[in-house]
């Protein structure tokens, strides 16, 4: 009851009523007093001060309010008086909570936050599992006919949509531009459950032949190309060779999966901005697994039931169409799928952040402890003159809270900055990165982390302080109170912990640095220095194969005549830009499907379509036979990569043998063997490749490889002008050097490494601060003892050794523990490493040396203070 009444007083309305009542009571009683008294002055004197009565009553209602504001003011003053401590504490709190907050907002956006679709919990992402291919692609996109069959037959799903992406050239609204396009079944937006901001989405029959071509565009494209004009609806836009009518604009918050988000072989552009209905889907029931499928479960149907139904339908398809590959499906929540690709990377980041945060906490505890000891005298004085322990505890906590609050704000600012850098520098394939932003939940997280650190580690010293025995502290010198010895022992433990955590981070950083070094020194199989990739998209009038062939032939000649250009070749794809044309391969007239001699698994190859000078242009060495020539136009010939030759013919001469594969290569004679190149990333094995002449399938050709002489004059501008002089309708080509392509392929690894190195650096700094603190404090604690030693003739090196040992002992223990933990935890990071084992002796050795030298420095700096002790002065003190 008492507490309830107390609490109710804090309600403003209650408080005001109470104050009013008291005023009335006071004036009523005063008029009684006035009636009794001789005159007003006497009445006032006898009655006492009404103002004071009001003030004191308020103190009765809100006890502690005054003392709290006093504590806050006092804390501000003390913090300002020791700027060194305040700055270091704020910085480490800001650093720790900032890093944690930045990461939290990333994890939050990428993994935790629901997708901006209606009821994302019912949205499944469906992939096909094709048993003979499982060793290469555990899951694949879905065949179009299968997907249509599901659409017609399924009972468990509200709607099922299939789509695939590519790029197309948009001619309306400015310069021709290559734009990411999604060809989808008309019900995609129904499945996702989203509405356009203006216009409509597709009608169910919009994919039928004879319907006018319709396109739905994103808000971004609408603003960029059409200035956000509201009359866009009904406008026709030219996309490649076709006129489309714009029927709807999606809302600004709409996001669609991008390249890499939906797993291997899902063809998705970097930035999908146009949606059109599928018009000319492939009719075959086997192969052609090209479509990504989203399916929305009916309410109250579980995903297991949905999956079971699709599997049942797959069995029917297999029966009705005599397919016997045992295809079945795998479904996952779309929500989960979106973050999968980066989960490991985020987990590593999370671990790094947690370790950093721990170090921050330890450091903070260390700092506060040092400060507490330094202020023990002040505290004991306060106790001696009557401050209660509770009051002291509260005032210590107020100080910590102030620090932690400010640290949290600082962390928020740091997180904001870090996220800015992160979003800018992070590999593009991080899903939903453009959604990352700070909101109130993030802000609460930052403050929470900081306050928690502050509280956890501020209470500890505060408790110790309030337990100080005032008599002890005042009687003895402030440096030799009983808390001192215990204090230094605790701080040594803390430093040990800090060092071992830092060691773990440093080892991880070292391993990642070493991995990057190894990746950079992998035999790439091509020469990146003077090779340039030029990607063009041809306007629709090149729909005839003959026209395309002529263009590429012509363009090759023209480009070759540019000054400084040594060789030019048309090409479907260059190294390190991903897999394409994936097919099984048969040899010497046999049926499709040669098996790997080692694993007995189906050999899958990539087909590349290239011009005669492709190998020369990329510096890929010819190992055997010859390369493709113009004279091969009438024959079926291929060049194969070294590893493939070894797998197919086991060391026999492959020249003159024949192989059969898909992608229109059919049966071809092997005329040459070239070196292996990396297709996906440098840290994966080189892909097995069959190179066919580009005229075999010129639709696949996406551009050129150009090799220039060192210091050549030809520029990107020259190349663009040359191509556009052939046809002004060609959009500006994308031109990258192979060096840039190599860099892009490493961007994720490099980024991961950068982040961990930064964290490890910060940890090292904090640990050094901690070590410094311990040694400096140890010296202060032993001033008297050291002074006596010096007076008795101790040499400088003896004194130094004595005090350094104090700092180095916990370092040595921490280092040993850290290495042990790193060795034990090595397995966890194995997937991130390349060319270096998690227990690499060189890395561990290097880390030990780095840490030891930094620690030595951190001990050495304060230890000079010990030498400056003047024995006479110390002994005279106290």
């Amino acid at each position: 009851m008492y507490w309830l009444r107390r609490l109710l007083l804090w309600l403003p309305a209650n408080r005001r009523a109470r104050e009013r009542e008291l005023n009335e009571e006071l004036s009523a009683n005063f008029s009684l007093a006035l009636a009794d008294a001789d005159d007003e002055r006497a009445a006032r004197r006898d009655f006492g001060s009404i103002t004071r009565a009001r003030e004191e009553a308020r103190a009765v209602w809100f006890p502690g309010w005054d003392s709290l504001s006093q504590d806050v003011r006092f804390a501000f003053r003390t913090l300002r008086r020791s700027p060194g401590f305040t700055v270091v504490a704020l910085l480490s709190l800001g650093l720790g909570s900032g890093a944690a907050t930045a990461l939290f907002s990333l994890v939050d956006t990428i993994i935790l936050k629901p997708l901006a679709y209606r009821e994302p919990g019912r949205l499944l992402f469906v992939r096909a599992v094709i048993p003979p291919l499982v060793h290469i692609y555990p899951t694949m996109p879905v065949n179009y006919q299968h997907f249509r069959f599901w659409q017609e037959q399924s009972q468990a799903f509200e709607s099922i949509s299939g789509f695939r992406g590519d790029t197309a050239t948009l001619y309306s609204g400015g310069e021709p531009e290559v734009i990411g396009r999604i060809s989808t079944s008309p019900n995609l937006f129904t499945t996702l459950g989203i509405q356009p901001q203006i216009g409509r989405t597709f009608d169910p029959d919009e994919d039928q032949p004879g319907k006018p071509a319709a396109v739905v565009i994103t808000d971004g494209l609408w603003r960029r190309r059409f200035g956000g004009a509201p009359d866009i609806l009904g406008h026709t836009v030219r996309l490649d060779g076709t006129q489309y009518s714009v029927i709807g604009v999606l809302s600004p918050s709409f996001r669609f999966p991008r390249k890499g988000d939906l797993g291997a072989l899902a063809s998705l552009p970097d930035r999908p901005e146009l949606f059109v209905p599928i018009k000319d889907a492939l009719q075959g029931w086997g192969g052609d697994n090209d479509y990504s499928v989203f399916a929305r479960l009916k309410p109250n149907v579980s995903s297991a039931e949905g999956t079971a139904e699709l599997d049942l339908l797959e069995r029917r398809i297999a029966r009705e169409h005599q397919l016997n590959s045992g295809v079945h499906v795998q479904t996952r929540m779309l929500q989960e799928v979106m973050g999968t690709s980066v989960r490991t990377a985020l987990a590593v980041l999370l671990a790094a952040v947690l370790v950093l945060l721990l170090i921050v906490c330890v450091n903070l505890a260390n700092l506060l402890l040092a400060r507490a000891n330094a202020r023990a005298r002040e505290y004991s004085l306060r106790i001696a003159i009557g401050a209660s322990r509770g009051r002291l505890l509260i005032s210590a906590l107020v100080e910590t809270f102030l620090l932690a609050g400010a640290g949290g704000l600082l962390g928020l600012v740091a997180a904001q900055a870090a996220l800015g850098v992160f979003v800018q520098r992070a590999p593009v394939e991080l899903p939903r990165l453009d959604e990352v932003q700070l909101d109130w939940r993030i802000a609460a997280f930052a403050l929470g982390v900081s306050l928690l650190c502050g509280l956890l580690f501020g209470v500890l010293p505060a408790l110790r302080l309030s337990a100080v025995d005032p008599q002890d502290a005042i009687r003895s010198g402030s440096h030799t109170i009983t808390g001192g010895r215990r204090g230094i022992r605790l701080r040594e433990w803390l430093v040990g912990a800090e060092v071992s955590l830092t060691t773990v981070l440093l080892v991880l950083a070292g391993l990642l640095v070493s991995s990057l070094w190894h990746v950079l020194h992998v035999e790439r199989g091509f020469n990146a220095d003077q090779s340039i990739e030029v990607r063009v998209s041809l306007p629709p009038r090149y729909s005839e194969a003959a026209d395309r062939d002529r263009f590429f032939e012509h363009a090759t000649e023209k480009l070759k005549s540019l000054p400084g250009v040594r060789s030019v070749a048309a090409a479907s794809k260059v190294p390190l830009t991903g897999e394409a044309g994936v097919n099984p391969v048969g040899i010497d007239g046999g049926n499709l499907g040669a098996l790997d001699p080692a694993t007995r698994e189906l050999i899958m190859i990539n087909v590349r379509f290239v011009g005669p000078e492709y190998f020369q242009s990329l510096g890929i060495p010819l190992l055997r036979g010859r390369t493709i020539g113009e004279s091969d136009r009438q024959r079926s010939v291929v060049v194969i990569s070294g590893r493939l030759a070894a797998k197919l013919w086991l060391g026999q001469n492959p020249i003159g043998r024949s192989l059969t594969t898909g992608s229109r290569v059919h049966r071809s004679e092997v005329i040459g063997v070239v070196g292996d190149v990396h297709t996906t990333t440098l840290d994966r094995d080189p892909t097995l490749i069959v190179y066919a002449p580009y005229w075999k399938f010129s639709y696949q050709v996406s551009g050129f490889v150009v090799r220039i002489s060192p210091g050549a004059a030809a520029t990107a501008g020259d190349i663009r002008r040359t191509l556009q002089s052939l046809d002004p309708e060609i959009p500006a080509p994308r031109i990258r050097t192979m060096g840039e392509i190599v860099d892009e392929s490493l961007v994720r690894r490099r980024f991961q490494m950068d982040v961990v190195v930064v964290f490890a650096g910060a940890a090292l700094l904090l640990a050094a601060l901690g070590i410094y603190g311990v040694v400096a404090y140890g010296i202060a604690l032993r001033r008297r003892e050291l002074g006596i030693r010096i007076a008795l003739g101790a040499r400088a090196d003896q004194v130094t050794r004595l005090v350094m040992w104090q700092g180095l002992r916990p370092v040595a223990c921490g280092l040993a523990c850290g290495i042990a933990v790193a060795l034990a935890a090595g397995r966890l990071v194995r997937t991130l490493l390349f060319g270096v084992s998690a227990t690499d002796a060189w890395t561990l050795g290097a880390i030990t040396v780095i840490l030891a030298s930094i620690s030595l420095l951190a001990c050495l700096l304060p230890s000079r203070a010990a030498l400056r002790i003047e024995p006479a002065g110390v002994l005279r003190q106290d």
Partner: protein, 114 residues
């Protein structure tokens, strides 16, 4: 302020107020007057101490207050002792007596030594 006024020991005022209310319900001014008269003007209770004390006692549930018209036709708050207040008074009185006894012992022994 007058120098011959007695200073209160902490908590004493609450006890005096409770004791005064045992005799019957009273308003604030009445309490002050009663204490003053009973102590032959030795103790004068200031408004600055009395009204906060009354607030405190009320919050603790030791007294209750109601707006009523006093005997002199003045509307004011009248305080009454609650059962809890009665109990509290008994406890404080006995503590006070112990204290006085202990102090007296010391003072008397000192007198003997002199």
């Amino acid at each position: 302020m007058k120098s011959n006024k007695l200073e209160f020991l902490q908590g004493t005022l609450d006890m005096l107020v409770l004791r005064t209310l045992v005799l019957g319900e009273l308003h604030g001014y009445g309490i002050a007057q009663a204490i003053r008269q009973t102590t032959a003007e030795a103790i004068q209770v200031e408004a600055g101490s009395l009204y906060p004390a009354l607030q405190r006692l009320e919050l603790k549930g030791l007294v209750t207050a109601k707006w009523e018209v006093s005997e002199r036709n003045q509307r004011t708050r009248i305080y009454r002792l609650t059962p809890a207040g009665r109990k509290q008074l008994r406890a404080e009185v006995s503590r006070w007596e112990d204290f006085v006894q202990a102090v007296a012992l010391i003072l008397n022994s000192k007198a003997v030594e002199e």
